[in-house]
Subunit: 281 residues, 2 copies
């Protein structure tokens, strides 16, 4: 199945126009097979997530942070529903980052991000993230160029610190074509159950597509590190996008070599206590 | 399927020994049929949850708060996984309340509860809750009797305020027998993948079973209000417990008469804008 090898961004300059939006690297099957493959991944994903959750009882600080970035309609919500939805919601912490509040604006851009980091044992998911602070902020000139320049390094230092303290980062850019976005916006306009997802500003933003592409290219190039590499997920096919992120999450969890915690008590003694107890109830 | 009618706590004095732990009120089928019925509920639960999530974009403040209480091993985690796990995790906020921190202890008992309330459009789930402050606190004498007495009224005022401000509360006490708890603790000791869920203190706590029963009876009697009634879920059968909570959640969502939001823009105009736009990308 899809491995990080096929999706990991190579180092060096990034040209998104050369990276496919509709391919299925690492997977030979069709949509039906892809959906089936994702469901089959569910049991292992769920077990490894539970082992991670269990591990926190031993004092381990390890966790996983899935960062989802992409243009409007690229499918961050779909990944949450179909991929993240495969594991026990008890062990997941999802944060959707919107435009910063007035209070958030008074702090460094990483302030609200730190507050949303997953605790030990959790899979944290960022639906948008600190990357918005070098993407929409850059496209709309919401910060000075020198400040944006500073942020790439600040992000790398921040993510290195997270990895050092026990986080495994899985950074995914959901890559769609402008034509696919147009189809998806039109589909929302064709379906009254999807009107609520549509905002006329989404159409305005399409005029900024080249500026976003440039901003993404710079961000990907500057912040894809050995400790926290970027993956660019061809996302015109929704089923492949869900499967690919699932594969990356699974690979990250497998890489942690998670074991069920040993008992920190005498099992036989506790069995005896229960067997010998006075009547209860 | 299971209706709140069959599970809702009647008003008046509560005697938990008369309420079944292993019955399946409102459902005639067996385990296999019960598990199937829960899965079949999934599509409607997921759609209504999405409608609730969509509604928040209209400025509505409505949300749902599922409160799960029960003795150790009663299955709060199982409900989270099997029932809450049926809906999009994006629209769910789960909070597991542990023993209060030093900071939390310096505040009123409802302080940390308020901080965890679901926002508009969300299904909040409390795995344990403010009820611990009249349960474990009472059993272990962690507060003065007068303070505990005050808390029943404080809880009713708090919950009335929540309902007034747009919350629908679904309060479930997962009711198991002492014998069933013993089986479940022994099962954990028989399975190395479950050692992490076991704590020798759980065995000590069994000696307090009658005190917990009394504390639950008082809490249920004093805080089952018309605005926020309690439901006592027979929970010796895990499949019925999951199904019953699902049924209550479904009934709560149905009761909100949720509609997809109308478009707050001119649909045809936006279609034209996309059709007529200059080439993008």
């Amino acid at each position: 199945m899809t491995t990080s090898h096929a999706l990991r961004l190579p180092s060096g300059p990034v040209d998104l126009s050369t990276l496919p939006t509709d391919a299925t690297p690492g997977f030979d099957g069709d949509k039906e097979e892809g959906e089936q493959a994702l469901l089959e991944m569910g049991a292992e994903l769920a077990e490894l997530q539970e082992r991670l959750f269990a591990e926190r009882t031993t004092g381990s600080s390890r966790n996983v942070l899935l960062v989802l970035q992409g243009m409007d309609t690229s499918g961050k919500g779909g990944v949450l529903r179909h991929t993240v939805g495969l594991v026990d919601p008890q062990g997941v912490r999802i944060t959707s980052f919107k435009a910063p509040t007035e209070e958030e604006k008074r702090h460094d851009f990483l302030w609200r991000i730190r507050a949303a980091l997953p605790g030990p044992g959790y899979i944290g998911v960022f639906d948008r993230s600190h990357y918005e602070d070098v993407l929409v902020v850059r496209v709309h000139g919401l910060a000075e160029p020198a400040e944006i320049e500073r942020r790439y390094d600040a992000i790398n230092a921040f993510e290195a610190e997270l990895v050092e303290s026990g986080s495994t980062l899985v950074k995914c850019m959901l890559h769609i074509s402008a034509a696919e976005q147009k189809e998806r916006l039109l589909a929302r306009l064709d379906d009254p159950t999807k009107y609520w997802k549509f905002n006329p500003r989404d159409v305005d933003e399409r005029a900024q597509w080249p500026a976003y592409r440039t901003a993404y290219e710079t961000a990907l190039e500057r912040t894809s590190t050995a400790a926290a590499p970027w993956h660019v997920i061809p996302s015109d096919k929704k089923w492949f996008r869900n499967l690919a992120v699932g594969g990356l999450l699974l690979e990250a969890l497998r890489g942690l070599d998670l074991r069920w915690p040993e008992a920190d008590f005498d099992v036989a003694e506790q069995q005896r206590r229960l067997a010998d107890e006075a009547p209860v109830g």
